[in-house]
Amino acid sequence: MPHTAFAPEATTNRALRAFLHGLPGVDEVGARSRAQDLATRSIKTTAKARAVDLAISMVDLTTLEGADTVGKVRALCAKAANPDPSDRTVPRVGAVCVYPDMVATAVAALGGTGIGVASVATAFPSGRAPMEVKLADTRRAVADGASEIDMVIDRGAFLSGDYLKVFEEIAAVKEACGAAHLKVILETGELVTYDNVRRASHLAIRAGADFVKTSTGKVSPAATPPVTLVMLEAVRDHHADTGRRVGVKPAGGIRTTKDAVRNLVMVNEVAGPDWLTPDLFRIGASSLLNDLLMQRTRLTTGTYPGPDYYTLD
């Protein structure tokens, strides 16, 4: 059967290929229609209030710009620690996500808050760098205090069928992570087909990923609902086969509370309620947080809030 556990030590490209291409296909129309159907779920009142708080706790508050500065990262960390200065009941976010050279800044700024720092690594976003550079990138971020590493896979290798190279890179980065959690970015916008999304998910999971993540946010489309659906099916199936739970992180394009709640519905109905925790589901976003805060206000006060009442970054 397709879901048989795959033994990493027995890895050859041929074996990997046989395994990945033996996975059941994904019918594009069917996957889209399932995602669309789940998006019609109507989450109101108390359910919505809980969903908004849950979503806030899952946000990986992110800044990944060439123009990032120490000041910008500190401001983001302040926001992460205290999303709404006027309301102390707001839960804290999942993590702050920055470039490797900003890890030390973020760790210092978040000291004492308990909020982790995630760092992208391995020549994010393209992944086009020699292996030793990618590993050095990773080790440095971990040494500076990153508790989570968001690596990118080599999409070129994947698309050319060199699954072993992708597998070994992930395994090597996992080793370089030490105690840090590893999120593996598939960049599904470049993999294009849902068959590829399913295969890349299983490949990453079996190479040691703690999370599979959709996108860098630099390629469009990013985290579309059907892509997240297929990845949730992959972690669900892996759990059924091995008992190990792997997390999922959609990133890019999730800007509104409605998008976030739809993601939670999908988690709930596809992977199951066990995944409704920041340990197993994160949302990579920046502007989403303020929309969640505004919806929170809307739910508590009954009036529509304006963006000027929420802090930037």
Binding site: M1, G30, S33, I43, T45, L54
Partner: protein
Amino acid sequence: MIFEYAPAPESRSVVALRETYDLFVDGGFSPAEGGEYLTTLNPADETPLARVAVAGPADVDRAVAAARRAQETVWGRMSGAERGKYLFRIARIVQERSRELAVLESLDNGKPIKETRDVDVPLVAAHFFYYAGWADKLAHAGLGPDPKPLGVAAQVIPWNFPLLMLAWKVAPALATGNTVVLKPAETTPLTAMVFAQICQEAELPPGVVNILTGAGETGQALVEHPGADKVAFTGSTGVGRRIARSVAGTGKRLTLELGGKGANIVYDDAAIDQAVEGVVSGIFFNQGHVCCAGSRLLVQESVAEEFLPLLKARISKLRLGDPLDKNTDIGAINSAAQLERIREITDTGEAEGAERWSPACDLPENGYWFAPTVLTGVSQAHRVAREEIFGPVLSVLTFRTPEEAVEKANNTPYGLSAGVWTEKGSRMLWTAERLRAGVVWSNTFNKFDPTSPFGGYKESGYGREGGRHGLEAYLG
């Protein structure tokens, strides 16, 4: 954490229910001559919704006479382009009043608002829109250079898709220049009465559409009326047989869309998650009150062990309850009688040796409810593999080879629908070619479109509705 969805009911306020509804004859509403009424209930809580007139033979006479008059003096003489514009108007009004129609349909039928809102009502509008466009193009339909209407059509429709079945009957009949007398089902007459109002709003000439409510005797009087040139019926095979017998020798044209026992064939190379989804919607869509439901799952033995747990896990996520809640997947069974039939035949399945499974599922106290049910270990000899249950009950059988799948799928007096799940195109086409069924869905199920013909082989009836083929039933 537990992510409980709070109730999200659609508002009933969009529907203005009248206490009583009279017959729609010759452009106006009038009481039945017998003065009799029946009460239609909300199957989700058994509360009465409205009283509806019961048409007798005298009412059938005057409705058929009105339809005849309208056909001969107005509708049959009108240019196709003008007829078409009336149908376009109706399509637009249906779109404008879509929420009202959706809520009313859910109230009267018990089906989830999600379905009436996203499936039934949009398809109704689309159907009128499609046939509106045919009205002035009949010469291009491949049925001869100048095809002619038949005259007056007597149409009897079922309770499972009340307004959609009305559209399937009325739109092609009107587009081709026929006039109609239509009888909606006894338990679901209300959207048809709103449709009568829509005909008035569209300023459709009086007598072109006549709607007679009532029960079986009304329907029988209608289809047996000598003034009808055409009979169109959707419903059970038993009634269809009776109608075919009564029409024999009368010269009336007849189309029948009857029962089914659709097989959903899942090959071992299927896209498994989408196949699960298709099997679930194939049988649980509209509580299984679907003549083309995929009520028999034929799963290849080599994949059955993997498939069934996924299927059951998916069924466990279905939400049964208030039809007006936007998150409801499975609504109420339409009537007490239907619920009793589903119970009886499902119990038989168990008694005959099938293994019965339903997810943990709280049924509401009032109303007619039946939990989604899977019967495994079913064989071809079991009643549940042969008889139409018309409810949320899936019978699971297995097969070893494509030949065996086709043999089992065809081994039924019915022949309405079938499903084929495989990632291999040639196998799909091979299977489809051999299936004796009027509609074969591959890697999807329960898809409907006004451009696509629908209808059955064998005891599932004859004639096609929808598409270019649907015109043939109304042209001579």
